[in-house]
């Protein structure tokens, strides 16, 4: 068990145990990275689409 931070108990003693997580680190970390990738893409795709639509509308009204 790690130290306490602002009233919260850290559950790991060091960075190695945090990454290893008693042997299930690969499962936990891959889940979190896939989630991060899916959520980021969900925000990025419509944001880039908005920029493209805006450019198209602007070009169409200029012509």
């Amino acid at each position: 068990m790690g130290k306490e931070l602002g009233g919260f108990q850290l559950r790991f003693d060091n960075i190695e145990s945090f990454l290893w997580m008693d042997g299930v680190g690969l499962f936990v970390w891959s889940s979190y990275f896939i989630t991060l990738a899916v959520l980021t893409l969900n925000l990025l795709i419509p944001y880039l689409k908005k920029k493209r639509i805006k450019k198209e509308i602007r070009e169409a009204s200029e012509n």
């Binding site: 919260f8 559950r11 499962f27 936990v28 889940s31 908005k50 639509i53």
Partner: protein
């Protein structure tokens, strides 16, 4: 009441109102999910049986809740479109489908990764997993149907009916763990009962669910605004919006 409802059905009014909400909701969702992820990874306790693998729960369960809530929301929007013929409701339903599909995919993939260290299998054909796979296929079917019928202009009606018929899958997902013998654990949250897990575990889970809800509406607003811009691109207000900012 109905007057207000029809007023909000105006694409221009919805666009104006959502302009004020979009960035604050997005920022808040990123803050809540990011901060809570640190909490779940560093400070939440390990489970006495699953050990640290239980940390996957904090991203798997909220994705499952949102994939199902998103479907109900999509079916409601479709019903509004079919009953009152409000076009914005159809665009709202359309904007849910890709987001719902990605969340269903996330549920299945994180569930599969969680299953390996806890059940010893990546996948089992039990009722909860299979009905969640059906949910993903329903979302994908919705996207495909829209793509096929969009030019004919009948996509809203066809997708609306499919969304409402597919609603039957939601109680099957929800109660599958009670109706059939399954490897999957029972519901983590029940509105009527105290959670089976300790406060240090269910509080970060609850906050993560709130973060996912905020994220869902943030992305949905992005998508429906894009839909409005495409459909209304010939109107003066959209041209002036594109030219001014």
């Amino acid at each position: 009441m109905l007057g207000w409802f029809h007023k909000l059905g105006s694409p221009k009014l919805f666009f104006e109102i959502s302009t004020r909400w979009q960035n604050p909701i997005t920022a808040l969702s990123v803050l809540v999910i990011g901060g809570c992820a640190f909490w779940c990874l560093l400070f939440a306790p390990a489970d006495y049986q699953q050990g640290h693998a239980v940390r996957i729960m904090y991203i798997h369960v909220p994705a499952a809740i949102l994939a199902q809530s998103g479907y109900i929301f999509m079916a409601l929007c479709s019903a509004v479109y079919l009953i009152w013929n409000i076009k914005l409701a159809d665009w709202a339903a359309k904007s849910v489908a890709p987001l719902g599909a990605s969340l269903s995919f996330l549920v299945l993939i994180t569930g599969s990764i969680w299953g390996k260290p806890t059940w010893g299998a990546w996948w089992v054909w039990d009722a909860r997993l299979t009905s969640t796979l059906v949910l993903l296929l329903l979302y994908l079917g919705m996207i495909a149907l829209r793509g096929a019928l969009e030019e004919k202009g009948t996509d809203g009606r066809a997708c609306g009916i499919l969304a409402i018929v597919g609603l039957v899958n939601i109680p099957i997902i929800k109660f599958s763990v009670d109706w059939w013998f399954t490897l999957h654990q029972p519901a983590s949250f029940k509105l009527t009962e105290q959670p089976a897990m300790p406060l240090e575990m269910w509080l970060p889970l609850l906050i993560m669910v709130i973060g996912y809800y905020l994220f869902f509406f943030s992305v949905w607003i992005y998508r429906i605004r894009n839909e409005i811009l495409i459909r209304e691109k010939k109107t003066a207000w959209v041209k002036s919006w594109a030219g001014s900012s």
